[in-house]
Amino acid sequence: MKARHKRGLLIAAGVVVLAVAAGLVLSAFQKNLVFFFTPSQVVAREVPIGKPFRIGGMVAERSLQREPDGLTVRFVVTDTVKSVPVMYTGILPDLFKEGQGVVAQGKVGDDGVFVATEVLAKHDENYMPPEAAHAVEQAQNAQKTLIGN
């Protein structure tokens, strides 16, 4: 084996070892790398107690309520299995909508309501023109009525 081939192999081996090390470190920090917790985790008390954390999920359909002061909103965040009620005072991002993704930062109060200090909208990886979105919505509604009947 020539010296340069040996060096090449050594480099390749080094990168592999590093990759494995990085993989182990990342899996060890798995919990710390999570950006938000799901409503199921919140309900199961798998969240930091007494400390602020982020909750992420979908804004449940027909759950958005505005308080008379015009700034405070209440909505329910769901992962389709469990849901958590959220209260927030402030300006919501433009993409905030029922049925869309959301990430909120805050604490769970004694009454089980998540009091958010910041609400961020999460959008998905689909990009479509308004007509296509309209068509998708209609198809979904049609399916709902079919199942409903």
């Binding site: 480099i11 433009d94 910041e118």
Partner: protein
């Protein structure tokens, strides 16, 4: 191992004094293609592609953001490959190519982060969050900066090349982390729209614009790197006879 007669003798071009004129001849082609692809891509992106259903016009940042982000990762991998070649084979040109790619990669990473922040504000409601995707991309920028700083800090180019190569190779671990971060962890950043596993999740004209700009950015990166490597060749080989002939 030289290809006999029929093919191109690649080894011939691994010598800086033969690569220098070749790079000079290639640059106008890549620069021209970059210009054409970018103009076509921008035209499609801003005049042909439809408005997005939920994000409105803000989504059009994607046409710059995604190609820049792709190139920031791809450039790093290519840079690390050149660095590894330089480390293993002690070829001068390989290390020069790695050095030539670093500033372009840093630029692409910066563009990706900057446009991402400008896009995040109207859509998510924030310029920056410390989620896995954004943080790992920021680390990529620091890796490029580290590469450039290390190179500038060591006087002896051979030692600088070796140190930089090790840094580049250590940092390459970060690239799959960036790419898969949105899959492995829950992040604010959405998942991949274009991937090998599934059909692209966007309208065809949107995809066409993005693909054109991605090609344009790719060509630009090649042109910029070739242009820079020519300067590096002249600088490092300044004592060689052929360089005296050039200047």
């Amino acid at each position: 191992m030289a290809a006999e007669g029929t093919g191109i003798n690649w080894y011939k071009y691994s010598a800086p004094h033969t690569f220098y004129p070749l790079a000079g001849r290639l640059i106008p082609w890549f620069a021209g293609l970059a210009l054409v692809f970018c103009l076509v891509g921008l035209y499609i992106g801003f005049f042909v592609a439809p408005t997005e259903a939920r994000q409105g016009e803000a989504y059009r940042i994607i046409f710059i953001h995604v190609p820049a982000a792709w190139m920031s990762m791809f450039t790093y991998v290519v840079m690390a490959l050149w660095a590894a070649l330089g480390l293993a084979f002690n070829t001068r040109l390989s290390s020069m190519m790695a050095s030539a790619l670093a500033p372009t990669g840093a630029l692409m990473t910066f563009i990706a982060l900057w446009t991402g922040a400008l896009w995040g504000r109207p859509t998510w409601g924030t310029y920056w969050v410390w989620d896995a995707r954004l943080t790992s991309e920021l680390i990529l920028l620091f890796l490029y900066f580290g590469f450039l700083a290390l190179e500038a800090a060591i006087e002896d180019t051979r030692r600088a090349d070796r140190a930089c190569a090790v840094l580049a190779l250590v940092g390459v671990v970060n690239v799959p982390i960036i790419y898969f971060s949105v899959k492995w962890w829950n992040t604010l950043h959405q998942g991949a729209t274009v991937s090998l596993e599934s059909a692209p999740r966007m309208a065809t004209t949107m995809l066409a614009g993005m693909a054109m700009l991605a090609l344009g950015f790719w060509m630009y990166c090649i042109a910029a790197a070739l242009h820079r490597v020519r300067s590096i060749i002249l600088e490092r080989e300044r004592r060689a006879d052929w360089v005296r002939g050039v200047t």
